[in-house]
Subunit: 120 residues, 2 copies
Amino acid sequence: MGFDPLTLKYDVNGLIPAIAQDEDSGEVLMMAWMNANAVLRTLQSGRVTYWSRSRQAFWVKGETSGHVQELVDFRVDCDRDCLLLRVRQTGPACHTNRRSCFYTALRDGGEVEILTPETG
Amino acid sequence: MGFDPLTLKYDVNGLIPAIAQDEDSGEVLMMAWMNANAVLRTLQSGRVTYWSRSRQAFWVKGETSGHVQELVDFRVDCDRDCLLLRVRQTGPACHTNRRSCFYTALRDGGEVEILTPETG
């Protein structure tokens, strides 16, 4: 692979934000963080792998839930400090069982839930 | 307005990442940062206002370029530490004059530009 993950810009914790977008629907599913090794693992495996800041460990998305993200396209922004991952999402992306983590919207000054948890 | 921007989770610098997505096309345009006051200004004005980390100042998107972002919907993620802004984008969102900042994709192990600068 010619691409070197170290050419990306990481923050003081060595992390870069990664936005996951559903390849088919265009829906923004979630945002999480990667370090250079997580970028490498994602590119090598085709399976989106974040860095869990709370667990301080690799987080192979869907490893326990089965709600995996298959990498379809890997994009870098103009500043090289943010990633956009076009993915094929199996099941819900959010740990609340909703399709997307962005299920809360502000409407008329109050918060409303615009997605309900999936069942089954 | 019933919503209090201080109920969001900010990082050690008092910032929260905000993803701007084109309301019509679903295209992810850019990611930038907001502090609580930028969130407030965005909600009150309907004009997306970030916090510029390099300039340490409010950044009313498009104030000088005219490439404004009109807020259509404001969404919060499950952890309340990331925002998704559905926007109506005038002109290109990227300072390189491309529609989106995510114009670089990895293909066959190399970087390719998938968007060209807009003219006129």
